[in-house]
Symmetry: none
Subunit: 211 residues, 4 copies
DNA sequence: TATGAATGAGTTTTCATTCAT
DNA sequence: GATGAATGAAAACTCATTCAT
């Protein structure tokens, strides 16, 4: 009858982990919200940690996928490609608001699981970003930059809206699940790409005119 | 006799809340680390939540102070002032690494306390940032931008290193408490200010030559 | 396996709440006496208060039942019926000595639960007593009395032996669980009914002779 | 400055013991209400139990005194005297509502202190009641009764209003501190004395006429 | 006489987990 | 697959008491 027990558990746990944090959520809370018996969690995920790990996996599988989908645009230029990657990440994260916030928060805790899982996905993420940025520098699209620092900043920009819920709702008066906001915000990220790593159009114009 | 009981509790709790998260830290852990009796926590802070609130207060009092100290440079130009504010925040956060990470993580949880405390400090923060940015736009130092979006991005950049510990240690091979890193990272923030909100020097040069 | 866990908890709690009072009894005491795990109390009754509420319910369900069983004698006359009700209450309370004393003590504390539970049962109790007394006055069996005041006094008489344990044991040298005492005491209550609310037999005789 | 520290502690403890019960009241609650330092309670009463004992003493000293004051009327007849004693007890208890309820509740708990204190005062109480009742029987004012049983019933009637707060407020719509109620209720007690232990006037009239 | 700090033992409650069904 | 009962460990919190000042 209930063949989706596993899914409802995951959905409930994502929501509750996001709202109360991992430690702040009890297995009974999750089972209660999912309307299943708490023992099912042990059945499907071995224990509470297994459930969190599952959430991590769900997130990062898709996260890397989105980067890869964006990276496919590499032949259209580094700038286009980087923007595409940023856009993909942004929309993916907006569509998985709770999961994203939960992951971003939990990775700031220096635990065993986090370290293990991160080392895998971080390597992949770094691989693609470095490729794009190095390509951009080769083709003179980008200024000379430190790829890792640039990646860190880009991640900062992309994650900000999910970690600063209050700022969004109380200052910008935006609910972060409004697609309108995602569309507006990604423009700001484009501006950053253009302004900070791309050789500026004025610079190019100036150089063209004077040399 | 021991008049510093309160302080050692706070210090221990900041460290442990940061490492294990608020819910992941027990009162006994804190008391153990601080080498005091667990009942003292109730005595001084009423309960565990009170201790967290105290950490919030400590952080935001200083945070706003740093913004104010930077804002005093407003007469030297909006760009100088904004950089000064960013620098102050950055160094303050680097000097209070654990506390900062703890606060940045906890404010992403939408709890009662967070909402109350945030509404106070967010207003102050917004006030100063808007003042600087509007001033910059008036004096033509800055392009026409949306002050609140710019602030959000700046916060994103400033907070990133504290939330992505793994990235720092495993990709950049930096321990975030190395002052060298703070000095390097703030330069990147300057670049962002110059590249994204300041009218670019090439732009100014180009415009000067051609018109 | 042990399907009577709930019952043994209730039995143990009634005994201990009676002896030491509600606040004077710890969950551990109860679990110890019942030879079950303390967590079962939370499992079955949510918390310590829930257990007390359960005791209240047990008591008043039966209490009202006894009144109803006595009220069935209404057609045999108000005096007979009132005595039957009193007798039923008395023997029920004697058979549930600990529970009765516990309840009588706890209802004197003006708490939330007490108020809620009492409002339900008090209404029922009042309904039956008023019916009997009004009937008695209609048929001239009873003098003209205030039903509510009479009920209060009757309750006072019926409850006294349970609240004054010392008086019983040290003055009357009776253990209140001796059935002999209940049988003797109910006679005194009958006398009160005859002497205070029934038109006295001498009165009737006197009136019969002289008018 | 505050020479009444002891008194305010007692007053606060009477109120709180009444509302929450002895075990339900903490020393800090009392100190808080009395606006004194908790350590004062240990200073003046040795410990929490000492404070309760003090309350018992206050109550029973006065209680016995009131009985003695009523007993002084013995020469005016047993009935008058017994009514006077009942009246004194009733008004004393009404004037010390909280204390009375607290005492009546706590004596139903079979503790060490209670037993010790009770044995003293119970003896005195019994002495006076037995004297009056025996006198009444000698002078033919009273029927032949068991003095101890009568005393128990009288105590039941006198204590009822203090133990059934809910009945008073929700059924009789009386706040038990309204003096009007005390005056009305004592009349009911007189009726009981007249109806149950005094040879009835009709009885006397009947006997006078017929023999 | 009065107090603030501190403590250790004890309280209720929560929780992840196990297990027989 | 799924459940209700049960548990042991640990959590947060309470509290009477002590003590130096």
């Amino acid at each position: 009858m209930k063949k989706d027990t596993k899914e409802v558990i995951v959905a409930a746990s994502i929501h509750l982990f996001n709202v109360n944090g991992f430690h702040g959520t009890s297995i009974r809370d999750i089972a209660g919200k999912a309307k299943v018996n708490p023992a099912n969690i042990a059945y499907y995920f071995e224990n509470k940690h297994g459930l969190l790990e599952h959430c991590f996996t769900i997130f990062f599988e898709r996260y890397v996928e989105e980067i890869e989908k964006g990276f496919a645009f590499i032949e259209q230029g580094a700038s286009v490609c980087l923007k595409k990657i940023a856009e993909n990440i942004m929309f993916f994260q907006f569509e998985n608001l709770h999961l994203t916030r939960l992951i971003l928060r939990e990775i700031s805790i220096d635990s065993q699981i986090v370290r293990e899982i991160m080392s895998t996905y971080l390597t992949k993420e770094r691989f693609y970003f470095n490729r794009v940025i190095e390509r951009g520098m080769k083709t003179k699209e980008f200024c000379h930059v430190n790829a890792d620092y640039i990646t860190l900043q880009l991640k900062g920009l992309l994650n900000m809206p999910f970690l600063n819920t209050h700022y969004l709702s109380e200052v910008l008066h935006v609910l972060p699940n409004e697609k309108y906001f995602a569309e507006k915000y990604i423009k700001e990220v484009y501006k950053w790409i253009d302004g900070v790593i791309c050789k500026n159009e004025y610079e190019r114009a100036y150089l063209a005119v004077n040399y």
